[in-house]
Every structure is written in structure tokens, then in C-alpha cells.
């Protein structure tokens, strides 16, 4: 009998993560790539990248998470569509059962999750500002003309403390320009910006939250050692970057399904996903003053489902499964 695997897909504002979990809850394969605005292609590419380990195995469940979770859930016929806060918490607790604080910084949002005795007790997300998120680093890298992946290495080479205003990306950019004009080294500017991001995060997302150790740092930004060190210094606590830190959402989505005992997946075969012409269109419903934005899923020219709306008008047969169905399975 083929051994079962569980697939997690996490598609956020900037990146797409796909992960395959085995029966021992070990990660068999994972991939992390930028969506570059083409979510369907990113998911197809991500699944193709892990296809090799799926060969000869039975997919027992597929879960989606991230801000595009419903869209991607419809694309792959997922068994579970779950939010990214829960997914990250479940994955982090599986790897570090004693974790008390999760810092997660994504492309355009950031979160804090507080845990106690293996249960999330509080969480917060950034409100209306992207200053404490990966978007800030993207802008910084663009301004300095260096690859974003190099920021951590540059920050680690800093020798002099440079203060950068981090409350707002616009002000930060002005400050960075000024620091460049006054001859500061790029390494010191990057390190200053990392401290600014950490400060902004702690003053916005983490405001009023009792941050206790062990502290885990998740998300693609955790690859940046400069940010990790800035958090550690600001908090006066060690900050751990766990394995699979960049794909924890996908890990969590797969893990939830696996622990719920999902054994028969509704996920479409990879060939079918690869061949499908799937897209989402949006329109404003004009039937009342709410003017709800409705998402229409179209596959091979046929409308297969709608999403959104505040009444039952657009509710109908949908390929998007509910958590309840999986829970009952």
C-alpha cells in the first residue's frame, strides 16, 4: 500500500509555499517562491517542484492557507481552507511545544501569537501599515540597490550604529537617503533599518502584549539575521528561527489535516491542476446598496463558483470545502 502524504499550500501576498508531510510528520519536500502576481502559475510551479516525492504516494489531504487560501482551495479542490494564524501556531507548537511567543513577518502583514501550555491565548496582526513587514525590506533593498536576500549579511557586517526612522516606510526612505548622503556605510544603514523594523513591529503589532520566551521567529523575513538580532536585542531575549521557518503556514495546514485523521483527499490530480485554465474575476454586485465585491471562479471558460457577498445571492455549489466536512471525516 502506498504511504500517505499530506500537502500544505500557503499563498500570501508575495510568496507561495508548498510542503509535503509524511505519516511521521516529517517534511518530505517544500518549496518557497515569489508569486509575482501570478498565483495560479506559482501554485502550479510549486506543486510541480514537489511532484517527485508524491510519486508512488497517496495524497491523504491537502490544506490551503494564506490570504489566497480560498482561491487556491478552489483551484486544487482542497480538503481544508484555514487561516494563517492558526496554521502557523499549530506548526510552531509541533516543532517547539514549549514556545510562548511567535513573531511572524510576511510580505505585507505581520503577526504575533502568544501561546500558553500549547494553546494560542492571544494574537494580533498589523493594522493599516506595512512598515513592520517584508514590504519594508523590499523597499529598502530597492533603494540601496542590493538583493533583498543580502540584507541579513550586510546587517551582520555593521560596525557603527545608525538610527533610521521606522514608523513609516516613506519617512524611513527619506532617512535612508539622508544617511547615504552623509556618507554612512551601507552595512550600517541596513542594520539601522533592521532595528527600525523590529521597533515598529514591537510598537504596533506587539504593543501591550506580554512577550515571553521561548520566542520563535517565523516567515520569510526570519532569514534575515539582522532582523533576528534586532528583535533579540530589543526584547532582551533569545530569538529562535526554527527549521522550516519560511513554510510554517503550509506545514500547519498539512499538519492540521493529518492530525484530524484525514485519509481520503478531494484534491485534484496534479496533471489536472497543471492543465486547467483557472482564473478569478471580480465584479460588484448591483442588487443592493452594499455593492459587495464578488469573486467569480472560472475554469476552462465555465463559471464554477462564486465567493463573497453579504447575502445568499451568490451562495451556491462551491468546490471550496468547509472545515466541518474535514472534521467530520
Amino acid at each position: 500500500m502506498r504511504s500517505p502524504v499530506w500537502i500544505g499550500i500557503d499563498v500570501g501576498s508575495i510568496t507561495c509555499k508548498v510542503l509535503v508531510l509524511d505519516q511521521r510528520e516529517q517534511v518530505l519536500a517544500s518549496t518557497y517562491r515569489r508569486t509575482r502576481g501570478r498565483v495560479v502559475d506559482a501554485v502550479k510551479d510549486g506543486l510541480a517542484a514537489v511532484a517527485e516525492v508524491l510519486d508512488g504516494r497517496r495524497v491523504a489531504g491537502c490544506g490551503t492557507t494564506g490570504s489566497a487560501r480560498r482561491f487556491v482551495g478552489a483551484l486544487v479542490h482542497a480538503d481544508l481552507v484555514t487561516n494563517e494564524i492558526t496554521a502557523h501556531a499549530r506548526a510552531a507548537l509541533a516543532l517547539h511545544p514549549d514556545a510562548r511567543t511567535l513573531i511572524e513577518i510576511g510580505g505585507e502583514d505581520s503577526k504575533i501569537v502568544l501561546l500558553h501550555d500549547g494553546v494560542p491565548t492571544d494574537f494580533a496582526m498589523n493594522t493599516v501599515c506595512a512598515a513592520g513587514t517584508g514590504a519594508f525590506l523590499d523597499q529598502l533593498a530597492g533603494r540601496l540597490g542590493v538583493p533583498v536576500e543580502d540584507l541579513g549579511r550586510l546587517a551582520s557586517a555593521s560596525t557603527e550604529e545608525v538610527a533610521i526612522a521606522g514608523r513609516c516606510t516613506v519617512f524611513a526612505e527619506s532617512d535612508i537617503i539622508f544617511k547615504q548622503q552623509t556618507g554612512h556605510r551601507i552595512e550600517d544603514i541596513v542594520a539601522g533599518a533592521c532595528r527600525a523594523l523590529a521597533r515598529n513591529y514591537l510598537n504596533d503589532v506587539g504593543k501591550g502584549k506580554p512577550i515571553e520566551p521561548p520566542v520563535l521567529f517565523l516567515g520569510g523575513v526570519a532569514a534575515n539575521a539582522g532582523i533576528r538580532d534586532a528583535f533579540s536585542t530589543a526584547l532582551g531575549l533569545p530569538v529562535t528561527v526554527p527549521t522550516h521557518y519560511s513554510v510554517m503556514g503550509a506545514f500547519g495546514a498539512a499538519l492540521i489535516l493529518k492530525r484530524r485523521g484525514a485519509s481520503e483527499s478531494t484534491m485534484r490530480p496534479l496533471d489536472e491542476i497543471r492543465a486547467s485554465d483557472f482564473r478569478a474575476e471580480t465584479f460588484l454586485c448591483s442588487h443592493c446598496a452594499n455593492a459587495c465585491e464578488i469573486v467569480r471562479f472560472v475554469e476552462d471558460g465555465t463559471v464554477i463558483a462564486h465567493l463573497g457577498g453579504r447575502c445568499e445571492r451568490w451562495t451556491g455549489p462551491s468546490p471550496i470545502p468547509s472545515q466541518a466536512r474535514v472534521a467530520a471525516a
Binding site: T86, T121, A289
Partner: protein
């Protein structure tokens, strides 16, 4: 003269009842969409709350569309809110439009209410007309509040939530068309009978969530609150006690005992909205609800000031709290994600016996 007011759900229906009893009606507001929001943001003072900006966008759209006889009725009650009594501000903002006028309605007393109505419709408004108008207004506010709350509970407790939604829609339509107090009484009786016939689930609610926050958001019928109320159909009991009804009746006599209850948490000069929200949050804590949900319009000063107060209450009671600042009607993804995560968190706590 076309009359216009804040386009809040319950409030709008109730104000229309007031105007109809005086022989007038409310203009249908332009649909809120990105263009209206952008227009409102462009013309409003940056510190005005998001709801206020949407209303300004609607007024601007009407005036720029050629409407020349538009009277805006700002809110009532002694609420210390920048958006509540905006008549002076609006008159200065739209001074170039000759036919535009803005007045306050309501007031802390009957005399105040009469004075404000006369400023709006002229000195010919009689005391008896004012009495009838406010009887219609208060009657509708009360019944709308009852329908709204009861239906939110029943969407959790009834076996067929779609029947609850149908009753709710029918009730709102009947309340809107009701000509006077007797008609409202009959609607109330019909509503009680219709809801009493609904079969109820045997199992208790999986979670109980207490909601506090901005009255204009909580009075919304079909917008953000519809997303929130969707949680009820997942077996979660939603309870909120605040609402426009409270602000309409907030005399010092009502507020004094509430202020006393909240004295450990509130500052010395709290607004009406803060007092009610704080008192209700303390009620939910004492009744061992599973969590607190704080909903307010982004930029709403009283509710923004209340946020750290609620954080203290929640921390003292070890009760989970989620604050949602509603800033854009179309960004529902973030709203739903946070709500889902909050429910997961409450579920996990309950399953672990933290708050059984």
C-alpha cells in the same frame, strides 16, 4: 428639499420614520463604492473617522451631481464624537453650494429636540409633531434593536438559519413601512410569533462572544455586521448590548451608575460610547463569556481611546480580546482571517478547559 443622514442601517430606517411622520422622507443615498470613499477621503479632515468620510463622500457626490436642495441631519445625543454633530463643519465644508444645509437633530431633552427640529424644518414645527416624530423614531430604534439582536442569537440557536434571515428581512421591511406606534406594536407581535415557531438546536452554543464597540457599526444591518453575524451560523452565540438605542437615551441619570461601575478603568471624562462599551465588556466578563470582540470604525476617537481600556479589562479577566478597526468595506479578507483565528483560539481554550 431632499433630506439625508448617515447611511447606517438601523439608524437610517429610524430617521426615515421620524421624517415620514413629519411629512418628509429621506433621500436614497448614493451607493458606497471606491469612488465615494475616495471622494470622502479627499474632502474630509484627516482625523474624521472612516464612516464619517464615507458620508462626506456621499454628500459630495450628491452636490456635485447637481443636487441643490439637500439637508443633512447629523446625529443625536450628547455623544462626544467628532462625527456625531458635524453640522457646523459640513456647512463650512460645502459652503459653495447654496442649497445645502446641515442641522443637528435630537437633543438631551424634549426642548432641545424641538429646537433642533425647528432649525431643520422651520419654526412651524409644533410640539405635538415633534412628540409624534420622536415616538416613531424611538419606537423604530427599539424594535430594530430587538430584531437585530434576536436574529443574531437565533442564527446560532435555530436549526434553519435561512428561515431566521428571511424573518429578519421581512421584519426590517415592515418596520421601515410602519406608519406609527400601533403598527410597530403589531410587527413586534408578529416577530415574536414567527421566531417562537422556529425549531431550535438541541446542542448548546459552542462559544459565547460578547461584542462591544462603535454604535454605528453595531447598528449596521447588511454590511460588516453581516460578516460578523455569519459566525452565529457556525454555532457561536453573539451578544451585544450597545447600539444606537443606547446613545439615543443616554441621559446623565442613565450614565452615572455605569460610570461608577467602570471607574477602575475609564478616565475622568469618558464619552457616552466609551461608558457603554466599558460597562458591557465588564458584564461579559462577569457572565464568563468565552471572548470579547471590539468593533469600531477606523479613526473613531472614543473607541480608539477605549482600546487600551478593553485590553486592561481582558488582561485582568484573562479573557481573549480581538479589536477590529473597520477601515475599508471591501477588505474582508483580513476581517475574516482574524475572525477565524479568534474562533480557533477560543475553541482551543475551551477544549483545554481554560474557559469551559
Amino acid at each position: 428639499m431632499n433630506h439625508f443622514t448617515f447611511s447606517w442601517g438601523n439608524n437610517y430606517i429610524a430617521v426615515r420614520g421620524l421624517l415620514r411622520s413629519l411629512g418628509h422622507d429621506l433621500a436614497t443615498p448614493p451607493r458606497i463604492g471606491p469612488a465615494i470613499a475616495e471622494r470622502g477621503i479627499a474632502c474630509a479632515h484627516p482625523f474624521l473617522c472612516f464612516s464619517g468620510k464615507l458620508v462626506l463622500g456621499q454628500i459630495a457626490a450628491q452636490l456635485e451631481g447637481g443636487e441643490r436642495r439637500l439637508a443633512f441631519m447629523s446625529s443625536l445625543g450628547p455623544e462626544a464624537c467628532r462625527c456625531a454633530d458635524t453640522s457646523d463643519y459640513l456647512r463650512s465644508l460645502f459652503a459653495e453650494y447654496d442649497g445645502f444645509s446641515a442641522h443637528r437633530f435630537g437633543g438631551g431633552s424634549f426642548g432641545g429636540a424641538l429646537e433642533n427640529l425647528r432649525s431643520h424644518f422651520g419654526p412651524q414645527v409644533r410640539r405635538s409633531q415633534c412628540f409624534r416624530a420622536y415616538a416613531a423614531f424611538m419606537g423604530k430604534v427599539d424594535l430594530l434593536h430587538k430584531v437585530d439582536k434576536q436574529c443574531a442569537r437565533l442564527r446560532c440557536l435555530a436549526t434553519e438559519p435561512s428561515r431566521v434571515r428571511a424573518i429578519e428581512r421581512e421584519a426590517l421591511d415592515r418596520i421601515d413601512r410602519a406608519p406609527g406606534p400601533f403598527a410597530l406594536w403589531r410587527i413586534s407581535r408578529w416577530f415574536d410569533r414567527a421566531t417562537a415557531r422556529l425549531p431550535l438546536r438541541r446542542e448548546p452554543p459552542s462559544l459565547r462572544i460578547g461584542i462591544v464597540g462603535g454604535e454605528h457599526i453595531l447598528s449596521e444591518l447588511d454590511s460588516i455586521m453581516a460578516v460578523i453575524k455569519g459566525m452565529a451560523e457556525r454555532g457561536i452565540l453573539l451578544d451585544w448590548r450597545s447600539g444606537f438605542r443606547m446613545l439615543a437615551r443616554s441621559s446623565e441619570k442613565t450614565l452615572a451608575p455605569l460610570k461608577e461601575r467602570c471607574r477602575d478603568y475609564l478616565h475622568e471624562a469618558p464619552s457616552t460610547s466609551e461608558i457603554f462599551s466599558c460597562a458591557h465588556a465588564l458584564d461579559f466578563v462577569s457572565e464568563t463569556y468565552d471572548g470579547l470582540l471590539h468593533i469600531y470604525a477606523f479613526g473613531c476617537m472614543p473607541q480608539t481611546a477605549l482600546k487600551p481600556v478593553l485590553q486592561r479589562i481582558a488582561a485582568d479577566a484573562q479573557m481573549p480580546l480581538l479589536s477590529l478597526a473597520i477601515g475599508d468595506r471591501f477588505a474582508e479578507e483580513g476581517l475574516e482571517g482574524r475572525l477565524e483565528a479568534f474562533i480557533d483560539l477560543l475553541d482551543a481554550r475551551r477544549n483545554q478547559g481554560v474557559n469551559p
